[in-house]
Subunit: 423 residues, 2 copies
């Protein structure tokens, strides 16, 4: 690089820039282009790839690390395993299906549309079997919703365990679903036989070997649950339940049954494995919290974060992250640089949909300070995301599921962020 | 299939169902499951794919036809070619990057982030060079916008040409972009040198061999144009301009320069090839309409359509399609079954974002009638999508670009839809 180039501090706030490259761009010497340009980026003198090369486009090879990752030691066998969305590398709110986290209880099965059947039975007037084509004939809706595994952040109860936001918070995705309200299919089968609906349930199962059965109160089933067949416009991918999955807005991901096979109306919860020995929270006294379906308000800073250090030097810095609430819209996110002593209100990327991811930003300056970075979400019910200490006070330290506490990243003077705990 | 199964007409409206399979599902014989289920979909007795199999998920093999397609005869060489989004097979509003249409003027080039430079020069106080990292340090925004090629539907001026909505209307996509307002970079370079901004322009160029240069009035450049680096949350794919493209909301796709390389502030439009001999509309008197940047309100029915016939028999039918306007929000879409003589108002899937695709549905009945299906969009300015005859009255028949007329599909009693013209 030429040494006679003048540099300019872009800083709107008047703070002097000390970095060797100003964030606002390097001055362009008039009549004498920066050799960085002529050496590395001459106007392309070749023709690029023709359109036939990519009938279905894939990420460019430079982004080959932006993939779902698992933690091999987390489950006994890869068949019953989990992987994590690369949220450290994403921005905006939509999660592409290709990198959206997975959790299978007996692997991802392959089920063709023409072989697909959905049974609605139990306390209904007319037990019915729906083909895929039948489902497409009911009025459809489009909604963006987040899906978070109840075990997301679960390893962190015991302290700071995993050094990467993909691993601590990546069991979440956010897609635009197209589907039919479950209500429409239940009404088609007729609910007169069920009598008073206030105390009735639906039991939902998948076609995979685990079946992953869950009981859902009728009130929720008739509210906003979708029988979905598209995500982000296109067919569900195999590992997201092709051709049909349940979408249970704001509720834990385990209830979003994939390869949806059967819906049974019943007068009691089934008390299945997935809602008794799993997906419950054992308190200090040994009693398990149960029916903890709603995912409470939560947020996390995705950049800077352990997988996303600051590499651009001092000066302007964009802090970015995600917030969500199973109770509705996110109304505010605050950011602390000192471990929760003082807070600044972040800017929301756009007004979030209800029960959907909301992107937040804080446009700030970093001049090599050590920070204890935290974010704190608030939702439309007035609920405020708790600290880890607050959560432990009510739940003890035996829990795995439903950890929505404030996360802390320790930012060092060299721009590295580490997963730490503060109290 | 057992013959003693009773069937049920689901029809809410009381019209008798004549089809062999009722849309509302087949009755399930109690105690004796439908053999369709036991024969084709026994509860999965095998374990499916482990998570390691798909670190980046791809569409399931059954959806292998849901891809971008080109029309080989449309351009002289695949290098300067076009392909089309499979909008007949999509639902909702988001277009996944993997199947979003492409138009390259000299092929898709490969440009690494570390080699990326963006020049801002011309009538600015300080000509600047931005690295990719520099751009990430400015305040970001998230917006969903449609991008439509000005030539979308262009082949249809001369009459019904292409039998597939993917080919007649598929040069469009709709993604959630994350980027920095172009305004921020221009202000960083300083616009005092430009004097009165009312008559100034910016000229934008890409790093590919075509450079694809376009002049944009300063008013638009300072309004909602984004320098974008993510689409649907993740990095732009190579063929969508990785690492940085311009997003020019509501304006023709050719201005959305990919592999964005240079932005020059000038006191006049450059009158480049792409804004003189191309992307203008030659009227009957030989004079070309120019600076026709905004894509007027338009809509099309995607299902049923020539690539999406009705296969489920008579009874309930969901008619589905897309509407959009470069002037803002879609406020209403009407559907005609008789070639424009009578109209029914469609239901919007959700309130559309401004300058973004809006999904519409009409939940109706079809009992084997011959229909002339049309949709007609209206936007927040009160503009109503014109008929082809109305468009020809003002523009003649020489045009290729900016065809936003009402499209007609002729639906036959066997459920096939064909591209036809009515007047």
């Amino acid at each position: 690089m030429k040494t006679n180039l003048t540099r300019r501090a872009l800083l709107r706030s008047g703070i002097a820039a000390g970095a060797s490259v100003a964030a606002g761009g390097t001055a362009l010497a008039e009549g004498s282009p920066d050799p960085l340009i002529t050496e590395t980026q001459d106007w392309a003198s070749y023709t690029g790839d023709a359109v036939d090369a990519t009938p279905y486009g894939l990420p460019i090879r430079f982004e080959a690390d932006v993939i779902r990752r698992n933690v091999p030691w987390l489950t006994a066998d890869p068949i019953s395993s989990i992987n994590f969305t690369p949220i450290h590398a994403l921005d905006g709110t939509i999660t592409p299906q290709g990198c959206a986290f997975e959790r299978h209880h007996s692997g991802a099965i392959e089920l063709a549309k023409e072989n697909y059947r959905l049974i609605v039975n139990g306390l209904v007037d007319r037990p019915l079997v729906f083909t895929y084509e039948d489902i497409e004939r009911f009025p459809r809706e489009n909604h963006v919703y987040f899906c978070e595994c109840a075990a997301n952040t679960g390893m962190e109860w015991a302290g700071a365990q995993l050094n990467g936001v993909q691993f601590t918070h990546g069991m979440i995705h956010n897609m635009e679903y197209t589907g039919v309200p479950l209500r429409a299919l239940l009404e088609e089968a007729g609910l007169d036989a069920a009598g008073d609906l206030a105390d009735k349930w639906v039991y939902v199962e998948g076609a995979d070997a685990s079946s992953n059965g869950r009981s859902i109160p009728m009130e929720k089933a008739l509210d906003d649950v979708l029988v979905a067949f598209k995500a982000n416009g296109e067919a569900l991918r195999k590992e997201h339940g092709y051709p049909v999955r349940l979408v249970v807005p704001g509720w834990e991901g385990n209830m979003w049954v994939k390869w949806l096979r059967r819906i049974e109306v019943s007068d009691a919860a089934v008390q299945s494995r997935e809602e008794t020995s799993k997906y419950t929270d054992v308190l200090e006294d040994g009693v398990a919290r149960k029916w903890t379906w709603v995912m409470d308000a939560k947020s996390v800073i995705t950049s800077p974060s352990p997988q996303q250090p600051i590499t651009h030097g001092k000066g302007p810095l964009v802090i970015s992250g995600l917030a969500w609430s199973g109770h509705g819209q996110i109304t505010r996110v605050d950011i602390s640089k000192d471990g929760g002593m003082t807070w600044e209100t972040a800017r929301l990327g756009k007004q979030g949909d209800t029960k959907a991811l909301t992107r937040f930003y804080l446009d700030t300056e970093w001049n090599g300070e050590s920070w204890l970075l935290q974010s704190r979400a608030m939702d439309e019910t007035g609920y405020v995301q708790p600290t880890k200490d607050q959560l432990r006070e009510t739940r003890g330290e035996n829990s795995i599921y439903h950890n929505n506490c404030i996360q802390t990243w320790a930012l060092t003077p060299d721009g590295i962020a580490e997963n730490v705990e503060v109290s």
